[in-house]
Amino acid sequence: ADLPTLRVGWTVPAEEAKWLLMKRPELFQGINKTYRVEWFQFQGTPPIAQALVANAIDCGTQSPISFAQAVGEGDFKGYILGSLAQEKAGYFSVYWGTLDGSPIRSAQDLKGKTVASTVFNGGIYFYLLEWLKKGGVDPAKDLKLVEIPFPQVEDQLRAGRIAAGPFAQPFASRAEARGGIRKIFEMSELLSPLTDTFESCRKDIADGKPDLIRAYMADFKAATKHAIAHPEDAKKVTSEVTKIDYATLDKYLMSERDFYRDPVGRPDFQSIQQTWDLFTRTGYIKQKMNAADYQKPELTPAND
C-alpha cells in the first residue's frame, strides 16, 4: 500500500507510452509493483513546466522551448530522460494549411490576415514566428495571431475566420480525407530532425530517489517498445484516453503519417541542442543552453 508514488504530467498527442503505463500497468515490471504513479493532464507543455518548477509534479512531458524557459525564468533544475515525439524526413511534421482556393503561398501573402497558432509561447508558436520572420513578416505588426486549439483549426479555416492554421494528427488526417486543404509550410522545413516532446524529471527527485526514476524509465522504455511492436495496442489505448474512435486512429497512428518515435524512447540531444541554438539566436530563449547539462545517462533508456 505504501509504495513510493511518482507524480507525472502528460499532454496530448503522442503519449502512448505513458498511456500504456496508465491503462495497462499489468504489462510492465515496475508500475504498481515497486512504485505507483499519480497522473495529471495539462494543456500543453508550458503548464507542465510551471508544475515542475512548483514541485507540483515530479516528471512530465516537455518541449525544448518550455524546458529552456523553465530553466531561464524559473530556475528549473531537471533532466531530459526520454523521448516522445520527433519529426524527420519521411514522417509527419506539423504544418500550416490554408484553403485550396486561397492565393496564399508564402509568409508575405499572410500580411493583414488572421493566422492561428496553438498555445501561444509553446513550441509550435515559435516555429511559426520564426518562419514568418524569415519571410520578412513582423508577427507583431503585419498580421493578427489568434490562439486556437488543434481540433478547431479545420472548422475555423473552412468558416473563413482564419487564413491559415496549424494541423497535427489526428486532425490533419481528418481534414485531408475531406479535402480542400493545402499545406503552406511544415515545421521540419526549419529544422530536421526536430524534437517535439520529451520526458523530463526534476533533478532533486532523480538524484534523491534514483531507484524510483530508474524503475519508471525502465517501464517507459518497455512501453515505447511495446507501442512500436504492437501498434494496435497503442491505438486502442489512445482511443481510450482521447475518446477518438479506433478507425480514425488506424488511418495514421504509429505509421509514417505519424510523428517519428525513437525505438527505445531515447532523447535526441543533438536535435534538442539545435532547437535551443536556433531560438537563442532569435532571442526567444534568453540564455545559452547546453544539452550536456541535462543528461543523466544511467537513468536514460539505452539502445538494446
Binding site: 508550458p46 503548464p47 513546466a49 510551471q50 518548477v53 512548483a54 518550455s66 524557459q69 523553465a70 531561464g72 525564468e73 524559473g74 530556475d75 488572421t114 498555445v119 501561444f120 509561447n121 509553446g122 495571431l145 489568434v146 490562439e147 486556437i148 478547431q152 472548422d155 475555423q156 468558416a159 475566420r161
Partner: protein
C-alpha cells in the same frame, strides 16, 4: 482626507504588508510569490505602456458592454416575468435549468459561431452576469409590499406604470445588490474567456506571462482586473448610497 481614506481600508494595507514581508522572508521562492511592491511597481510601468493599455481597454470594453446588456435585459426580464402567473411559471424552471449551467462550457460554441473577437466574449459575459440581476429583480419584484402596489393602482396607475414607478424603485435595493454580484461575475468571466482563448486583453497578458515564467508579470493583469472590479464595485456602492438614502 487621505488619512481617512487610508484608515478606512487599513485591513487592505495590513494584508499587503503581510504579503510583502512573507514574500521577502525567503520562505517562498520569488517565482511563486513576488513581493507586492515589485508587482505594484511593474503594474505602474505596464499602465504607462501603450500595448498594455490597449489590452486593458479591450477587456474593459468587453466587460462593460456585456455588463450593460446583462443589467438592462436582466432587470427587464426579471421584473416583467414577476408580473404574471405565466411569467413566473416560465421564469422559475428557466432559471433553474439555465442558471446553474456553467456558461463557460458553452464558450467554444460561441467562438465557433461568433468569431474570436469581442462578440463571443461579450455574449459570454452577458449570459453569465444576467442571472444574478434577473434573479434579484424577479424576487424583489415579487416581494414588494402589496399595499404599495394597491395604493398606486388605486391612484389610477396602469399596470405598466406600476412596474415602472412602484415595483422598480421598491425593488431597487436588491437589484443593486444583484448588479454588484453581476459586476463581479463579469470581471471573472471576461478574464476567463481571455485565458481560455487568448488573443488580446488582460487574460491574454496573464497567460503569456505564465507560460514564459514571468511571474511578476503574471500578477500584474490580475491586479489590474481586480482594480477594475474594485472601482466598479465602489461606483455601484456610491450609486446605492446616493439613490437609496431612503432605505433603512
Amino acid at each position: 482626507m487621505i488619512l481617512r481614506a487610508l484608515r478606512s481600508c487599513y485591513s487592505v494595507l495590513l494584508l499587503l504588508a503581510a504579503w510583502e514581508l512573507f514574500a521577502r522572508s525567503g520562505m517562498v521562492p520569488r517565482t511563486l510569490l513576488p513581493p507586492v511592491s515589485l508587482v505594484l511597481q511593474r503594474t505602474a510601468i505596464a499602465l504607462a505602456t501603450d500595448t498594455f493599455v490597449a489590452d486593458l481597454a479591450t477587456t474593459l470594453f468587453r466587460l462593460l458592454a456585456g455588463l450593460a446588456l446583462a443589467v438592462g435585459l436582466g432587470i427587464a426580464l426579471g421584473v416583467i416575468s414577476a408580473q404574471t402567473r405565466a411569467g413566473r411559471a416560465i421564469f422559475e424552471p428557466l432559471v433553474r435549468v439555465l442558471g446553474p449551467l456553467p456558461k463557460i462550457a458553452l464558450f467554444p460554441v460561441l467562438l465557433l459561431t461568433l468569431g474570436f473577437d469581442n462578440t463571443p466574449r461579450i455574449v459570454l459575459v452577458l449570459i453569465d452576469a444576467i442571472f444574478p440581476v434577473m434573479l434579484a429583480a424577479h424576487y424583489a419584484a415579487r416581494a414588494v409590499d402589496e399595499k404599495l402596489i394597491w395604493s398606486a393602482r388605486a391612484a389610477g396607475t396602469s399596470p405598466t406604470g406600476c412596474v415602472l414607478r412602484v415595483i422598480l424603485p421598491a425593488a431597487m435595493p436588491q437589484i443593486l445588490t444583484g448588479i454588484r454580484v453581476a459586476a463581479v461575475i463579469a470581471c471573472v468571466v471576461v478574464f476567463l474567456s481571455e485565458m481560455v482563448q487568448p488573443g488580446d486583453g488582460l487574460g491574454d497578458q496573464m497567460i503569456r506571462a505564465a507560460r514564459a515564467f514571468r511571474s511578476v508579470d503574471m500578477f500584474v493583469p490580475i491586479v489590474v482586473i481586480s482594480g477594475l472590479g474594485f472601482i466598479l464595485d465602489t461606483l455601484l456602492a456610491l450609486v446605492r448610497r446616493r439613490a437609496l438614502g431612503w432605505a433603512g
